[in-house]
Amino acid sequence: MNKIIKYVITDILRNKIVLIYTGFLLAASLSVFSLEDNSSKGLLSLLNIILIIVPLVSIIFSTIYMYNSAEFIELLVSQPLKRNAIWLSLFTGLASSLSIAFLIGAGIPVLIYQANLVGLTMILTGVLLSVIFAAIAFLATVKTRDKAKGIGAAIMLWLYFSLLFDGLVLFILFQFADYPMENAMIALSALNPIDLSRILILLQLDVSAMMGYTGAVFKDFFGASNGLIFSFFVLLSWIVIPVWYSTLKFNSKDL
């Protein structure tokens, strides 16, 4: 299994798109930090870039990479290897190369300018987001055989998580404005890894006061160590469940 991971990583780290992605993150984070004299403001601007770019690149790149590797996967399946091992090593290779790209591009500048708990939380959530969206991409590729459909589904999923979901939440909030929604909001935020990451970092930045009454509820919940552990496990299950389900599907898939 380690053998395939090693080769997948060497293949991806030399990929032009991944190099451009790393370069872009590096340029964006360095310029954001040097533009603002207050580095926690810089961190806030960087947060917005990361929450859009990292999921987008992770999900689209993983989907396209998996479709382009279809014949290579066939070749691997014809070798004396377990299907589980093939699928999981492809995932591990892809997820770790995207995480490496993120760590070099955004992790190093954050560590230079903001080497504190907030900075570390941001690096951790960035890595988790890279892995989560690679896992969702694996789900999309195992479900559809058609490349155009699969990439379309990946784009729609990204759109849903980064834009549509917020709209839906706002709609629900307005509709049920007369009822106490605080606990329901926490449950809703668990349904979207991007929202969850944003809340996690904003709460640590002490700008949650701007989030009003719900912000106070979140602070009450996520600020406590139980809340942190809860959100970490929710993010982990966003990795485990798609990977587990796609492995199950891949085991009985006709290639």
């Binding site: 080769y7 014949e71 691997l76 070798q79 290897l81």
Partner: protein, 236 residues
């Protein structure tokens, strides 16, 4: 060596394989022939475990292959269209396969030498032509001295010289007692290679005969003409 019993497979409404039953023994070179979409590639893929049949059983050297993967150690497979990770070099692909199989000795590097692949070891897979990729696939299929060789349209992209070298290699391996399964539409390439013919149509196995029987039945000396006769009589 490989035994298929009532293998059936549906893709939606399409019957890709319809209770196929046959036995393939060693020291034979068997050609799978039939019109496009008759289920040749699906049959190969079920033997390799890439396609899981709806019903039926496949045994490889007496063992059922369902949910097993170790038996593929004995098979060398050359796909119809090989594609490898674009940024890996030929040398890395060969190295990876050796790693996966866990073998670095007793390798059969005849084809690597014959196709002068060793001069291209630093070339990236993404920059290679279709024919060169075919050469790499062929070299990989033979590299580990497998007892069964499964070749899907092997000569389609090869130049005439490479194609001849490749056919000589197949003959040599067959005479060493290996089982070779070939699908091809270029019947003239198969003429002096194959010893048996499996003819398929619409997922059904129409016949499995030795080449002498086929010659007697059709009264034609050349494979091209005898198969043409069979195809026309079955064509609707």
């Amino acid at each position: 060596m490989i035994q298929l019993k009532n293998i059936s497979k549906h893709f939606g409404k399409l019957r890709a394989l319809d209770s196929v039953t046959t036995i393939c023994e060693k020291s034979e070179c068997i050609a799978l022939i039939g019109p496009n979409g008759c289920g040749k590639t699906t049959l190969i893929k079920t033997i390799l475990g890439m396609v899981v049949p709806d019903s039926g059983a496949i045994t490889f050297q007496g063992n059922n292959i369902i949910n097993h993967w170790q038996y593929r150690d004995q098979i060398g497979y050359m796909p119809q269209m090989g594609r490898y990770p674009d940024n890996m070099t030929i040398g890395q692909v060969l190295g990876m396969m050796k790693d996966i199989r866990g073998k670095s000795e007793g390798l059969d590097e005849d084809l690597i030498k014959a196709f002068s692949v060793q001069n291209l070891l630093n070339k990236r897979m993404g920059t290679l032509s279709g024919g060169t990729i075919q050469k790499v696939s062929a070299a990989l299929a033979f590299l580990f001295n497998p007892s069964v060789l499964i070749l899907d349209e092997p000569t389609a992209g090869l130049d005439p010289v490479a194609s001849e070298l490749f056919k000589e290699k197949i003959l040599a391996e067959r005479d060493k007692g290996k089982l070779v399964l070939i699908t091809s539409h270029i019947l003239s390439d198969l003429d002096d290679l194959v010893t048996r013919i499996i003819y398929m149509q619409e997922g059904k196995l129409i016949f499995h005969k030795s080449i002498e029987e086929l010659r007697q039945d059709t009264g034609e000396e050349r494979l091209v003409k005898s198969i043409a006769q069979v195809m026309i009589s079955n064509y609707e």
